[in-house]
């Protein structure tokens, strides 16, 4: 068992959440889990939502692997989006929280030492573990449902897929004539045979397994069989399933809500992995106190708090719950003032009461599964990506088909149709209208809201209503702010938009949830009709008009007057010059005349200009002028300017050199050096206050590395700022500025309108005006300021890859983050990753309406402090999971409350809304769930209750007769019943397996290989191989050449050099036997890359050698290179038989990507 001090030498939890008590708690958690798992083989981390359970679990994993490099792990995430999140988090954790490259957890390049493998289903898991089991595997809980399809062909396909990996599987083992349940179990048993034993299985959101083998779904049984949890009653045949047996040596369960109302739930979860032995008291009929003692042997729960004005507030204290049902005024119910609406509600209640009173429903209903609680509109079942039709999300709550569809749907549909026919309008729904009223000011405040519904169709209905409100606000704003002369044209456009929107509504498949572009990975924005913003400001916009879309395009079209509006003049900034003085300053620094400097720039600039371009567009001129001037400064200037010019050129402009470049550049290209842009203006002293808000300068850099970091951050900030300014809510202000002074909306060519300088002035006036008036409604400055203030957080949660991405690619990555913005987003069925990322940023979407698809896993806390349970969930744990999306470490609420000096006001708290109509039976289900939430809190934080079993049904007859007594909120400070036990922190292992010095030592040894002659070998290393790879050419004794790459890796904690040499492009799957026959003669290994991607080679020879004593490096590595190069050359000659002898340049691009953990 490890000590806290030893763990601290390896792990640093403070890099992202800041050093202090939270980081200490995470480290303690990691050590405790490690030690509990060592002792008990099972641990349950039940920290409150949002405390970073993932990171604590990854910390425990890191500790295991540091001491046992062969430690094998499988992670089960609830669903696809969380599966990829785990992968990202593991990479982030290793890069940021593991202090040094120990070759066990962190490889020498800072990435995880083991490749990460994501498996979309269990068959893929089997394939991947059979390829190489020594990697980290990520699966989804949904995969264990083993969707088989409906007919025998589907079953046969599944059997054939398994047989590809396990060719010895007998027909009897997977008998196509057996029943579905048995067939699934046997598939799971076969999968178990193929799996290696895992030292640790991590189950995220493990409460989903709480019903264990008692569950009616096949998923849990399949999972149990997959992990070899042998059933005594029905053991599998050892002949048919050789090697079947336990596959999880240890299991770590993660969930903030590990149980509902009984400890049996925990036992059930353990039992699925065969880990319940010794914990049977959890399901026994004994006092709850004893059960708590048993659970406390392996279960840890910590509670978090926010310190506000020197007082700690636990979650229940800083959440402001709207339990009275209203959404406009706290503790007020929704009031129905309109008589007609009251009548409608009464009528619907009568219908529902009659239905519930019928003999089919026994006066009870499933919580959250009455359609009338959410809408009085017609409900049609919606087809999801799984081809499954559904009315409610998480319909698995009940097995009854009528309940799954919503038992009031049929009658409500009849009523809705009749009402529309009679009154020519839709049935109003007071609760939906109240919600929409409450949310329709978000575009003026910028305050985000997350809305959960149960009925799938409610997503579209609420979104449509909010879109209408948004349109009203936007059009009103444009009518006020665009010049009067444009108003008639604007009104005509509005009419056209309404017409097109109406037509689109009648066209099937044109809904707002079209995700085809995202699925295809396209950046294109086709606009849309859901809002005037989508129609006018995005996509192509209405043709022939200077629409928002038209202006927006001008910022990225190289030939437009606005092409360089958001560029930066780095030369001007570096020289501290002003427009009109840059060339003179440059010449002075270089010690030459302006004419000579012009000539030199002209000569260099050609390499940055395309040979094909007839005219050189404005954007290209600016790019070439900057690149060539910086290149010149990096060689001709002195001191700091030279050093910094070199950094800027290398990191930003070197990749702008074109292979097919122009022969000459025009002399006028130097004029671009004098150009003002948005960022040169921001640097001016008169805008210092504005700059501090939206593009803050870093502290002065002390050395070259510091400047490189500073420059990189400055560029990334500029890219994020400018992209936000031209794509979302902030763009409306920019558009209005661009239109000021024009007389018509009709387009007259790309250059029509004002100059970039005029727009700069107007835009700065606008931003400065907003700065001077903080009370103004939410506009460009507010959004850009939020982005600047929380830049690190935004990058961390949305695009950590940006930190290391080349600066040429970062602009594209940022644009992909912010494309296709919509003020109100809707989600059902599957997670729309783009929408989720945008919700984690300031700006659109301001409202996100979702079914339970976002209930778990996705973090939405960074800029949202309000959650609406519009459609209520049936378990308290589900409600807690939902709130947990916005109640997390580093949340907006956390930041706001922590910075308060005085007592918070109502709006300062985290807002939790439970909208309902108090005069309807809906009140019964709300009370039931609120009561359950209180019970859950007592169970986990105070003494245990002997509560009744959870019930997803509400008995109307019984409960309506009880006088309603509002369910009071628990207000006292929470204290966990399951703190970290003292013994779990009292380890004896005080030293790490390897010391931090190993990283530097290996880098030095690897770098020395470049300088060495490597014995008698004749080889040339290319430049810029990087810190952990060398690319070069070996000249063989037969006078032929062979390109090679050397990669510095590790294996089982030992340093390893891998050598890869390409044979060429061979299409190995076309004629594998021929290649195999030729390869029999060589002991090195043949590697095939079976991918559809364009590659310069798909067949390799590769091998590894262990690095031992440093003095033997040269001998060992030269042996490795020789055998690989000679064998690769042999295969090249044998395979192609045309005398070819491909050299390094042919393969260099792909060789440099070797080792990026691809297959």
């Amino acid at each position: 068992m490890i000590t806290l001090e030893a763990a601290r030498e390896l792990l640093d939890f403070g890099t992202r959440i800041g050093r202090g008590s939270r980081a200490d708690e995470q480290l303690k958690g990691a050590v405790a889990l490690h030690n509990i798992l060592r002792k008990q083989r099972v641990a349950y981390l039940a920290d409150e939502v949002g405390m970073g359970k993932t990171y604590v679990a990854l910390g425990a994993l890191a500790l295991f692997r540091h001491f046992d490099p062969n430690f094998r792990v499988l992670i089960i995430a609830p669903r696809e989006n969380i599966q990829s999140k785990w992968q990202k988090e593991l990479s982030n954790f290793v890069a940021n929280n593991v202090r040094f490259s120990d070759l066990r957890v962190r490889a020498i390049d800072g990435r995880p030492s083991r490749a990460l493998v994501s498996c979309r289903d269990l068959i893929e898991l089997v394939r991947e573990v059979s390829l190489d089991p020594n990697r980290d595997f990520f699966t989804r809980m949904t995969s264990f449902s083993l969707m088989l399809g409906k007919n025998a062909d589907d079953w046969r396909r599944k059997r054939d897929e398994l047989r590809e990996v396990l060719p010895w599987l007998q027909d009897d083992a997977l008998d196509l004539r057996s029943n579905k349940d048995l067939f699934k179990r046997n598939v799971a048993r076969a999968i178990c045979c193929a799996l290696p034993p895992f030292d640790l299985v991590i189950v995220d959101e493990a409460h989903n397994l709480k019903h264990g083998l008692q569950s009616s779904s096949a998923r849990n049984r399949v999972l149990a069989e997959t992990f070899g949890r042998q059933s005594d009653a029905d053991p599998p045949s050892t002949k048919m399933f050789p090697g079947y047996g336990p596959r999880a040596k240890r299991v770590l369960f993660l969930s903030a809500t590990p149980l509902e109302e009984t400890y049996r739930h925990i036992w059930n979860q353990l039992d699925l992995f065969g880990m319940a032995d010794g914990f049977d008291d959890l399901k026994a009929d004994i006092p709850e106190a004893r059960k708590k003692e048993v659970a406390a042997q392996f279960l840890v729960r910590r509670v978090t708090s926010i310190r506000i004005a020197d007082v700690d507030h636990t979650k229940n204290m800083y959440r402001r719950e709207w339990r009275a049902g209203g959404v406009l005024k706290h503790d007020d119910p929704i009031r129905i003032e309109d008589e007609r609406q009251r009548l409608i509600v009464a009528l619907v209640q009568k219908k529902v009461s009659e239905l519930l009173g019928g003999k089919n429903f026994k006066r009870s209903f499933q919580i959250g599964m009455l359609a009338s609680f959410e809408s009085f509109l017609e409900t049609t079942r919606l087809k999801r990506d799984t081809e499954e039709e559904t009315t409610f999300d998480d319909a698995g709550q009940t097995d009854e088909a009528t309940e799954r569809d919503g038992l009031d749907v049929r009658d409500l549909n009849l009523l809705a149709r009749d009402y529309r026919k009679t009154f020519d309008r839709e049935l109003p729904h007071p609760k939906m209208d109240a919600l929409v009223d409450g949310l329709s000011s978000t575009w003026q405040t910028g305050r985000k809201a997350l809305v959960f519904v149960r009925r799938v169709a409610s997503v579209k209905e609420i979104k449509r209503k909010l879109d209408e409100r948004y349109d009203a606000w936007l059009l009103d704003s444009l009518r006020t702010r665009l010049p009067p002369a444009m108003q008639p044209e604007l009104e005509r456009l509005v009419e056209r938009y309404k017409r097109e929107k109406h037509q689109a509504a009648d066209t099937p498949g044109s809904g707002p949830e079209d995700r085809s572009a995202e699925k295809e990975g396209k950046l294109d924005d086709s606009g849309g009709n859901d809002t005037f913003f989508a129609w006018f400001f995005r996509g192509e916009g209405p043709k022939g008009y200077v629409s928002g879309a038209n202006i927006q395009a001008r910022f990225i079209q190289a030939s437009s007057a606005y092409a360089t509006f958001f560029a930066d003049n780095h030369v001007m900034a570096l020289l501290g010059a002003q427009p009109g003085t840059v060339l003179i300053s440059l010449a002075t620094v270089l010690g030459m005349s302006p004419a000579a400097a012009t000539e030199k720039i002209q000569n260099l600039a050609a390499r940055y200009l395309s040979r094909k371009a007839q005219d050189i567009p404005r954007g290209a001129r600016m790019e070439a002028a900057q690149a060539s001037a910086l290149e010149l400064l990096s060689t001709g200037a002195q001191g700091t300017i030279r050093q910094r010019a070199e950094i800027i050129w290398q990191d930003r402009y070197r990749a702008s050199q074109l292979s097919e470049h122009a022969k000459a550049a025009p002399r006028e290209i130097v004029n671009s050096l004098e150009e003002s842009t948005f960022f040169t203006e921001l640097r001016r002293p008169e805008h210092a206050a504005l700059r501090a808000l939206i593009w803050p300068a870093g502290d002065p850099a002390r050395d070259a590395d510091g400047y490189r970091r500073q420059f990189r951050e400055e560029i990334l900030r500029a890219q994020l700022l400018s992209t936000a300014a031209r794509l979302g809510h902030a763009f409306i202000d920019l558009y209005v500025c661009a239109m000021a002074g024009r007389s018509t909306l009709v387009g007259r060519g790309a250059e029509e309108g004002g100059t970039a300088d005029q727009l700069l002035k107007k835009y700065f006036d606008r931003l400065e005006a907003q700065r001077a008036d903080p009370s103004s409604t939410w506009g460009a400055l507010a959004e850009l300021r939020e982005i600047a203030t929380h830049f690190d957080l935004i990058i961390d949660v949305n695009a950590p890859e940006l930190k290391n991405a080349p600066l040429q690619e970062s602009a594209r990555l940022i644009a992909s983050l912010l494309r296709r913005q919509q003020p109100v987003g809707g989600m059902a069925g599957q997670v729309n990753k783009s929408l989720v990322r945008q919700f984690r940023m300031p700006g659109y979407p301001l409202v996100l309406i979702t079914t339970d698809v976002l209930q778990e896993g996705e973090d939405l806390h960074t800029f949202c402090s309000a959650i609406h349970h519009y459609g209520i969930s049936w378990t308290p744990s589900a409600m807690e999971q939902r709130i947990g999306r916005i109640d997390r470490v580093r949340s907006q609420t956390d930041r706001r409350l922590s910075s308060l000096d005085a007592d918070p006001q109502g709006e300062d708290w985290l807002q939790v809304y439970y909208p309902y109509l108090s005069d309807t039976v809906e009140v019964l289900q709300v009370d039931r769930v609120l009561d359950g939430m209180n019970k859950f809190l007592r169970l986990m934080h105070e003494e245990l209750t002997t509560a009744t079993q959870e019930q997803s049904k509400v008995d109307v007859a019984r409960e309506i007769l009880r006088a309603r007594k509002p369910v009071e909120k628990i207000r006292s400070t929470l204290k966990s019943s399951f703190p970290v036990p003292d013994w779990a922190l009292a380890g004896t292992e005080t030293t790490l397996a390897v010391s931090p010095g190993i990283e530097k030592e290996l880098r030095t040894r690897f770098a020395a290989l470049r300088q060495s002659k490597l014995g008698s070998m004749d080889l040339d290393w290319a430049k810029d191989g990087g810190q952990d790879r060398l690319v070069g050419t070996v000249r063989l004794a037969n006078h032929r050449v062979q390109p090679v790459v050397l990669l510095l890796r590790s294996d089982q904690g030992l340093p390893v050099i891998r050598c890869v040499s390409p044979i060429g492009r061979t299409e190995p799957d076309a004629n594998p036997d021929l290649i195999a026959a030729r390869a029999t003669g060589i002991p090195s290994r043949i590697g095939a890359i079976l991918t559809k991607e364009e590659r310069t080679y798909d067949l390799t020879v590769e091998d590894d050698v262990l690095l031992g004593p440093p003095e033997q490096d040269i001998t060992r590595v030269s042996l490795l290179i020789r055998r690989v190069a000679e064998h690769a050359d042999f295969m090249e000659r044998e395979h192609f038989q045309d005398g070819r002898d491909a050299a390094l340049p042919e393969f260099e691009g792909d060789l440099r990507k070797e080792g990026d953990h691809e297959g």
Binding site: L166, P197, D1073, L1106, G1108, G1159
Partner: protein, 124 residues
């Protein structure tokens, strides 16, 4: 260059017979690895599956080559008779017991696992 690799073959779950090291695993399975010396290297060979045992396995060469891209310190190929064999090697220069055993165990473990996946048996 001389290395007394036999002296390294003492350890948990290892047994030496001539030039063959047998590695026994926790799950009761085992695998044999044959050791050969050259002037500068120690070459390790293991039989994974005989030709007859894999003659019906579809796309075997492709499977082996993909496997080779992923694995470290051990590689697979088919020998001229069609059997699947595993290879590993070590440089003699500065060779330690820890290194020797790491590679022997890796070759044995990977060969054994591949044998099981291909044949469902434990013959080698």
């Amino acid at each position: 260059m001389k290395v007394n690799w036999r002296a390294f073959c003492h350890g948990k779950q290892l047994s030496l017979d001539g030039n063959e090291v047998t590695v026994n695993f926790e799950n009761g399975r085992h695998h044999r690895v044959c050791i050969e010396e050259t002037e500068e290297t120690i070459e390790l060979h293991a039989l994974v599956a005989k030709a007859a045992a894999v003659k019906t396995v579809a796309d075997l060469p492709l499977r082996i080559w993909r496997h080779n891209r992923a694995s470290q310190l051990v590689g697979f190929r088919q020998n001229p008779r069609g059997a699947v064999v595993a290879n590993g090697w070590l440089a003699k220069a500065g060779l330690s017991k820890e290194e020797f055993l790491a590679v022997v165990r890796r070759v044995a473990a990977e060969s054994d696992r591949f044998e099981f996946l291909l044949t469902g048996r434990d013959a080698e």
